[in-house]
Amino acid sequence: MANETIDPKSSEIAAVKARLIELLPGVSLEWSEFRDQTRVVCPAAELAKCLTAFKEVGFDQLTDLTAVDLLEYGNVNDRFEVVYCLLNVDSGLRLIAKIHLNEPDLTIPSATSVWFGADWLEREVYDMYGIVFAGHPNFKRLLLPDEFQSFPLRKDYPVKGRGERHNFPVITRAES
């Protein structure tokens, strides 16, 4: 039973890979698979083309957009990894697209022109990791106050904060 459900998916994935090779000539994508998850790593310079190609191949829903900070991970070359979780609504095929970023230039093109749902997802990634998305319609912090200076989900930011949560005036009973 398990073999029957895996086989049509793998042929669909092979079809997707072939189509992407047609749509993206000269772009080197690294594919990997683990159990039923297919992943592709895109080069940072070709991200806009890759995303439109993914949408054209049939992945019309951006399920999630997050980032990973690999600072304490071990032997990796790049610090940040932005992960796009894509879904083909009609066939149920899922794809994880990743892109690696490094410290000085953390700007990548926004995915809002391809999928509308990337709007708040990108604002949250900026809020927590500091990755700037160029071309976003309303680019500001989503959850934290606008004047917050740090990016909390990076690995070098402590869980308890650096005093921002207690940086408020004290009201005593006599003056209120």
Binding site: L144, K160, G161, G163, R165
Partner: protein
């Protein structure tokens, strides 16, 4: 005013403004572990106890507090008012000092200093976490 639940740092100025807008006489009950001390949420965004920034009269422990505890807190507040209350609110004018925990605890000071580049020689604990 009953402050029920955790207070995020974005919400604290709003809470302070509401307290200042309340007419006299007013008292504050801090309900639940999160409002009293931050509870389990010892993170960068949750204020560790609303009494750091606002005058609190009665604390209600619990996560969540039982209904009987909250009712008891109101009765305690009534007893407090009856035993020490005055007609022209003199007992409020006497509370000049802030009544919560000290402004900077050592934990946070270590992290603030570490951010500014000053590291202590002997680290008793890892300030990142």
């Amino acid at each position: 005013m009953i402050v029920a639940g955790r207070v995020v740092m974005k919400m604290l100025p709003v809470l302070q403004r509401i307290w200042l807008q309340m007419p006299e006489p007013k008292w504050c009950i801090s309900m639940g572990a999160c409002a009293c001390t931050g509870g389990v949420f010892d993170t960068y965004a949750v204020v560790q106890g609303v009494d750091r920034f606002m005058p609190v009269d009665v604390y209600v422990p619990g996560c969540p507090p039982r209904p009987e505890q909250l009712i008891r807190s109101i009765i305690d507040l009534q007893e407090k008012i009856q035993s020490g209350g005055t007609i022209n609110a003199r007992e409020f004018k006497l509370r000049v000092l802030p009544e919560g925990p000290s402004r900077f605890d050592e934990d946070e000071l270590v992290r603030i200093r570490e951010r500014n580049g000053f590291k202590l020689d002997d680290q008793k604990y890892n300030p990142v976490h």
